[in-house]
């Protein structure tokens, strides 16, 4: 075999080795840069972001707005982020920060008991603490008579309260939000 062929084969082998690495990295791209979005989804994400940054200061006053009926609120949230779109729960702070779970269509129970859909084990959480259920086409959080309360956007809730995508729900030391 001629010298030149050997050199070509040698460099070819190294090329295959690196090709393997680049194929692996290419298949990991969604892990590194997040999932690929369709143009429509990208627009939705961008508008949701700009709305979030604009709407944050007004959010507490809106939730304190007692006479608003739930149907009105549902239509209001139709205009902004529809919570019915949420398919995941992301824990944003607390001991299990970073955890993501699927939000089943049938809802999710939260509490210290092992039967809870989202189990939070700390001293501030009751056994059956709260429940996230789907009501009409939005997600609603209900406090199940917990000792230390459930907070939506910083305000303690006493009745079923709709939660929007991205608004913070706090139970004990754990804060989570709904995501699409």
């Amino acid at each position: 075999m001629s010298e030149l062929t050997l050199i070509v084969i040698r460099i070819g082998f190294l090329a295959v080795l690196w090709l393997f690495i680049f194929i692996v990295l290419y298949s990991l791209r969604s892990d590194l840069f997040g999932p690929k979005l369709t143009p429509l989804q990208r627009v939705a994400v961008q508008s949701a972001r700009s709305r979030e940054s604009g709407a944050t200061p007004t959010a507490p006053s809106e939730s304190a707005d007692a006479p608003t009926t739930v149907t009105e609120r549902a239509s209001a949230s139709n205009a902004s982020a529809r919570s019915g779109d949420a398919t995941r729960i992301v824990i944003t702070s607390g001991p299990r920060s970073g955890l993501e779970l699927d939000l089943p269509q049938t809802g999710l129970t939260i509490g210290r008991s092992s039967g809870s859909g989202l189990q939070i084990k700390d001293d501030y959480t009751s056994n059956q603490h709260a429940k996230i259920v789907r009501w009409r086409d939005q997600w609603v959080v209900q406090d199940l008579g917990s000792t230390n309360g459930t907070f939506v956007e910083g305000a303690r809730i006493s009745e079923s309260t709709p939660v929007r995508v991205g608004s913070a729900v706090r139970i004990g030391t754990t804060t989570f939000e709904l995501r699409r």
């Binding site: 080795l17 393997f20 298949s27 269509q105």
Partner: protein, 474 residues
């Protein structure tokens, strides 16, 4: 997840019955997606596995072309047998762990194949054949390791069960560590008493002990992380843990020092302590544990340097490697210098597989397999190999990061880190970044115990990643 069932809801009528139907449809939609996704992962794995086979096979053919100038089919047939076993592991994953990570198995296969090709190349240079050849034994051990990995992935359906056996794991680790010290079965090879010998077989139980230790540490830290995170007084701007919580780290440190003194194995001792240190840091998130750990390593290192002759020789051979007296001394720097010059000979693209002289370095197929590969594949090849390790370790840490519970998180990070630290200790040793210690290079180096342990780690990581449901590659 890619499925976007939500927009359909906008059309959902308020009629309760019809809403129910819509929700049912969404649920079935979700099920369909869940079945389709894992198949995607496994198909990606199969594709990458085929590329890994191509790499391993062509490495072997190139070795033969370079060193023998002909193609001998027999070793290739044996290697193909191993390929069938990795395919069997892939099929087992399709059945019992469909959502497992798709990258780990092909990367481990590629590394193992490159290792076998290099060991085979050294055998050709040394002129050994049959069962005397390290490559034959390596192929046999790889087969055994793959079968054990397949059995492990089929038997261990839920790795959280392992948390229940944490104290059993501790006992096993302890037993494995003291086995080489038992009279009769313990063997001392090159000064280190880390081997047991039964008949013609020798085995390094410390390799398996690292898995048992990772399981024990994960199980223990899962329960102890709360008390270990409690902070005590503040010294020099760093909050240190309470004095009474220092017990566990001192016990592990003492264990590693005993390994250092009685088994005379620097690398293993550093490996175990590093594993514990990283896992306690991950469990508590307190930097003060790192400060304490590094302090204890420094203390142990200085004490070992002053009192243990072999540690002193290792450090001398590291710092004064090119001194004529150190180079010529018994247990001096001859091996290090040979390895460094070998890698230098390789240059950027290497001499080509089968065309260099890696065999003149002692232990060219085990401790020094990295310089052997560096000589024949060059800097480009070594960086590719280190890149493969990087991918492997980062996948493991990613699995740990996404783990749904503390035990999974700690075990994933621990198992991945132990591979990473071992590669660092070996490659750092042969490139003179740190003192040389006799650890094996995972998947590459000749040695059955190391292969067995690392394929078991692969099986465990795959099992762990399956429990991180649907969070692989979307």
């Amino acid at each position: 997840m890619t499925h976007q069932a939500a927009p359909r809801d906008q059309a959902a009528p308020s009629n309760a019955l019809q809403t129910g139907i819509v929700q049912l449809r969404d649920v079935t939609e979700a099920i369909k997606v869940r079945i389709r996704n894992p198949a995607k992962l496994r198909n990606l794995e199969l594709f990458l596995l085929i590329v890994a086979w191509v790499i391993a096979g062509s490495a072997m053919v190139l070795v033969q072309l370079g060193a023998l100038q002909t193609v001998d089919l027999f070793p290739l047939q044996l290697a193909a047998g191993l390929g069938v076993l990795t395919l069997a592991l892939h099929v087992a994953l399709r059945v019992v762990a469909r959502e497992a990570d798709a990258i780990i198995l092909p990367v481990a296969t590629a590394l193992n194949g490159l290792g076998i090709a290099m060991i085979y190349r050294i055998d050709i240079a040394d002129g050994v054949t049959g069962w005397d050849a390290a490559s034959m034994r390596q192929i046999a051990w790889t087969g055994v390791a793959l079968i054990i990995a397949i059995v492990a992935i089929i038997v261990v359906r839920n790795h959280r069960v392992l948390a229940r056996f944490r104290y059993l794991a501790m006992a096993i680790a302890f037993l494995l560590l003291i086995l080489p010290l038992m009279p009769g079965i313990g063997r001392t090879i090159n000064g280190a008493t880390v081997w047991i010998g039964i008949g013609p077989f020798s085995f390094q139980p410390g390799e398996l002990a690292k898995i048992a230790l990772a399981i024990f540490f994960a199980g223990y830290l899962m329960t102890a992380r709360d008390s270990l995170s409690v902070v005590g007084r503040k010294v020099l701007g760093v909050r240190f843990p309470r004095l009474r919580d220092l017990g566990p780290i001192l016990v592990v440190w003492a264990m590693c020092m005993l390994v250092l003194v009685f088994q005379r194995d620097l690398g293993t001792s550093v490996l175990y302590f590093g594993l514990f240190l990283v896992m306690i840091y991950v469990a508590t998130g307190r930097r003060s544990w790192m400060v304490i750990g590094v302090g204890l390593v420094a203390l142990g290192g200085v004490a070992a340097y002053l009192s243990l002759g072999y540690v002193q020789r290792r450090i001398d051979a590291w710092i004064h490697a090119f001194d004529q007296s150190v180079y010529e001394a018994q247990g001096g720097s001859f091996q290090i210098v040979q390895g460094v010059f070998g890698m230098g000979q390789g240059g950027l693209l290497g001499t080509g597989l089968g065309l260099g002289r890696p065999d003149i370095t002692p232990y060219a197929n085990s401790d020094y397999i990295i310089p052997s590969l560096g000589e024949e594949l060059g800097l480009a090849g070594i960086f590719a190999i280190l890149g493969l390790y990087l991918i492997l370790v980062s996948r493991g840490i990613r699995i740990g990061f996404q783990g749904p519970d503390d035990f999974t998180k700690l075990l994933g990070v621990g198992l991945a880190f132990v591979i990473g630290l071992q590669v660092f200790i070996v490659v750092g040793g042969v490139t003179r970044l740190i003192p040389l210690t006799g650890l094996t290079t995972p998947f590459l180096a000749a040695g059955g115990s190391s292969l067995l342990a690392n394929w078991l780690i692969v099986a465990l990581l795959l099992r762990l990643s399956d429990s991180v449901r649907g969070r692989g590659i979307v």
